[in-house]
Amino acid sequence: AFLVPAGIIACFLPLSDASSFVVLYIVTSVYFSGVMVRLMLVLAPAACIMSGIALSEAFDVFTRSIKFQLPGVSGNSQNDAGDASSGSVVTQKTDKNEDSVKERPSKKNKKKEKENVEKASIKSQIEKRLLVLPLEASVIAILLLVLLGAFYVVHCVWAAAEAYSAPSIVLTSYSHDGLHVFDDFREAYAWLRHNTEVDDKVASWWDYGYQTTAMANRTVIVDNNTWNNTHIATVGTAMSSPEKAAWEIFNSLDVKYVLVVFGGLVGYSSDDINKFLWMVRIGGGVFPHIKEPDYLRDGQYRIDSQATPTMLNCLMYKLSYYRFVETDGKGFDRVRQTEIGKKYFKLTHFEEVFTTHHWMVRIYKLKPPKNRIRGKAKKSKSKASSTTTSRRSGTRKKNPWH
């Protein structure tokens, strides 16, 4: 991997069409990988080619040195302009008269029997000063390069096993007393599968849609297919609205359970509060009453005491931090590294039905509407007519409660 700059330089020495293509490729892929880390996939072949070029040039020099200094090896012509074929397709060097070339060097140019194919004594122009190092130095250098390659393989295997193999549904962490397994996602899905009715619908952000359908076997509102932006915006609006408005939206979608992912107790950073900005933006894109500046303080989404009142009243905040302060007395969110803003509050339209072991998944149920509504009584407050006035005032504004 660190041979890449050496490879770039090696590409410049005989700059041809092919080598300049590779240089341009690697420069643009480095830029794009810097912008979005997932594009590192594009950088991978370019880096491999570059380091391959560098390695083959290095082996070239060393094996040539060894061959020159070993007596009895055939064909020590000084004009051994052989370099060309590295492991890649780069060097073509078709210019100049190479008709005298008997056979093209094969790919195995790291071996010592490289019959000098290009006699080309005519190529005086390309006759570069060939590097010849002392015998012992080049032998040691070849050994070191081979060892380097071996260790690199071991390192890659370890990195792939540790860093790239996280299944992202079972999280593990190493502590002083061994391996801790955070199996909260499957715990929540198993609970939903066994302890809810078959027809109950679960609303969550779309990242968990396929998982809920597959493991919990319940209908979801939006899933990873994300083909209906308005539908996702409806869920996003509901998560960003205060409790009552959110209840109305979910009730109109016939939702029974709401699922939120919360990483504040254990420090899991891909939770719904970190994804909240997308809920606000997508919701605001379709429903204009959700305005992003309402949730921002100094251009940032905050949940501590400096948060905006809209943020502290929205459903996502309440469902994530409901009774969170009772765990440690202060309500310290490990992901945002701050104490939460509103610590003691009650839920009026939702009730908590399940929270997993490490608080990573929290499931709430929509409370059924009340039978009687205590509407705003009119000026003539009489006990006998209070119910009729409330009903009348209830029907005047849009009453969602039946």
Binding site: Y189, A190, H194, E352, F354
Partner: protein, 470 residues
């Protein structure tokens, strides 16, 4: 005329006398048993009700008795899981030994109020005037009804138990006493009939004298029982015998907490912080007792592997402590699969008449659980004939065929089904079958011949010249 009439009268009178004699002789030849002393201890500490009955029976009739009847009210009979009886032999208190006796349900033509009976067959008939002491033990399941039916997370679980203060029996009982043991001292209420007393965790009804047969005095005890009401609704155990050296067992469980249903919210913070007050009737762990030398144990469900389990092995037993993904509150369900392998030499033996038999334990390995429907499938190796099962209690049996790897004719499966299984049913049972040892070679020969034929075909193909012209 008069002579004829007197003759007829005499005939009628003699016939009537004979008939009355006959009737009286039949009543004279029936045994009249009396229970001199009865002591009943009802153990309500777990969710499985265990009753220990000590009866001293005396034969006050005129002919020896070979059977003693036990009576149960119809509501209890459906829930009886097992009834065991033993006769105590030996005069001294320290030297009592127990002979197990057969108990079978019996239907009597005359049964007041639908009482059902069980008959204990005595090994020696009880002679006239003799008395014998019997110990009876029976187990009732699903007899504790949660009341209130739904509780919230912070409440404790209270249940009702219905029974009678007077032991129901077809015989006259001269003296009896009933003691009920509750798990804790929290008893909400209990029916007070005459001579009722309560001391600590024991409620005593009695002693009562001279109660006529079939007398019944219903009482209800309302008490707190927070033991885990772990009920397995359905359990399917598959035991696969492989003559290559191992026994593979797979068990599919559908577990439910059959206590008072959980209503309302579940607050994780309360559950974790106040563990002695919150969720007292829920359970998190279950213990499975497995035979020693178990290997390759796994614990998973539909979604995947469940990582919260511990297996501790020993030279005499293995214990697997499993923790379902979430704690089970009242009414919550969980399903999972437990599988493990056992060495074959511990369980497969050869009987003296040349048949092989598998000696394995019936029942559910989970401790203190009731299984509503248990199915055990013993998969015999291919080529077994004449399978038969010997089980110490009544089960339903039938045969099936299952196909597995490298099977041509299928493997015979002996299926045993039983309902209402309690931990006292964990006794060994045997499955006998004939197996010709030559069948062991069937599978390797099949594989070897398949590869052989393939290579032969390839060699032939290489050397056969199929061209039409030269």
């Amino acid at each position: 005329m008069e002579g004829l009439l007197r003759l007829r009268l005499a005939l009628v009178f003699s016939v009537v006398a004979h008939l009355s004699l006959l009737v009286r002789s039949s009543s004279l030849s029936s045994p009249e048993l009396q229970i001199v002393n009865a002591e009943r201890r009802i153990d309500l500490t777990s969710h499985i009700v265990r009753v220990y009955l000590t009866l001293k029976v005396e034969n006050a009739g005129t002919s020896p008795a070979s059977e003693i009847l036990l009576a149960f009210p119809p509501t209890q009979v459906d829930r009886i899981a097992l009834v065991k009886a033993a006769a105590t032999v030996g005069k001294k208190k320290k030297k009592k030994s127990h002979l197990p006796l057969d108990v079978n349900p019996i239907a009597l033509p005359v049964a007041p109020n639908g009482t059902k009976h069980f008959a204990i067959s005595l090994s020696n008939p009880l002679g006239v005037g003799e008395s014998e002491t019997l110990e009876v033990f029976y187990v009732l399941t699903h007899s504790l009804e949660p009341f209130p039916v739904e509780i919230s997370q912070s409440e404790s679980q209270l249940v009702h138990y219905h029974d009678s203060a007077i032991i129901l029996s077809p015989y006259l009982i001269k003296q009896q006493i009933t003691v009920i043991k509750t798990p804790s001292t929290k008893v909400e209420s209990f029916t007070k009939v005459e001579l009722t007393d309560r001391a600590g965790t024991e409620i005593k009804y009695g002693p009562y004298d001279e109660r006529p047969p079939y007398s019944f005095s219903p009482v209800i005890v309302h008490f707190e029982n927070n033991n885990p009401f772990a009920v397995v609704e359905e359990l399917v155990r598959e035991v696969e015998i492989s003559h290559w050296g191992s026994l593979q067992i797979t068990e599919h469980y559908k577990l439910v907490n059959a206590g008072a249903r959980h209503k309302g919210i579940f607050s994780r913070v309360e559950y974790q912080s106040r563990q002695s007050l919150s969720g007292v009737s829920s359970f998190k762990h279950l213990l499975a007792r497995l035979p020693p030398r178990v290997h390759s144990a796994y614990y998973r469900d539909d979604i995947g592997n469940i990582s919260s389990s511990h297996l501790r092995t020993d030279s005499r037993k293995s214990e697997m402590e499993i923790e379902p993904r979430y704690p089970l509150f009242g009414g919550w369900k969980a399903t999972f699969v437990i599988g493990y392998g056992l060495p074959l030499q511990d369980f497969l033996f050869e009987s003296p008449d040349g048949r092989r038999y598998l000696n394995f334990s019936f029942g559910c390995p989970l401790a203190e659980t009731v299984v509503d429907k248990l199915t055990i499938k013993v998969v015999l190796p291919e080529g077994s004939q004449n399978p038969s099962a010997v089980v110490p209690f009544p089960v339903e049996q039938h045969l099936e065929t299952s196909y597995s790897y490298l099977d041509v004719i299928g493997r015979t499966v002996v299926v045993l089904e039983k309902e209402n299984v309690v931990p006292e049913h964990n006794s060994p049972f045997q499955v006998y079958y004939n197996f010709n040892p030559i069948f062991m070679l069937a599978e390797p020969l099949m594989l070897a011949s398949a590869f052989f034929l393939f290579f032969v075909a390839y060699v032939a193909y290489l050397h056969i010249d199929l061209s039409i012209r030269k």
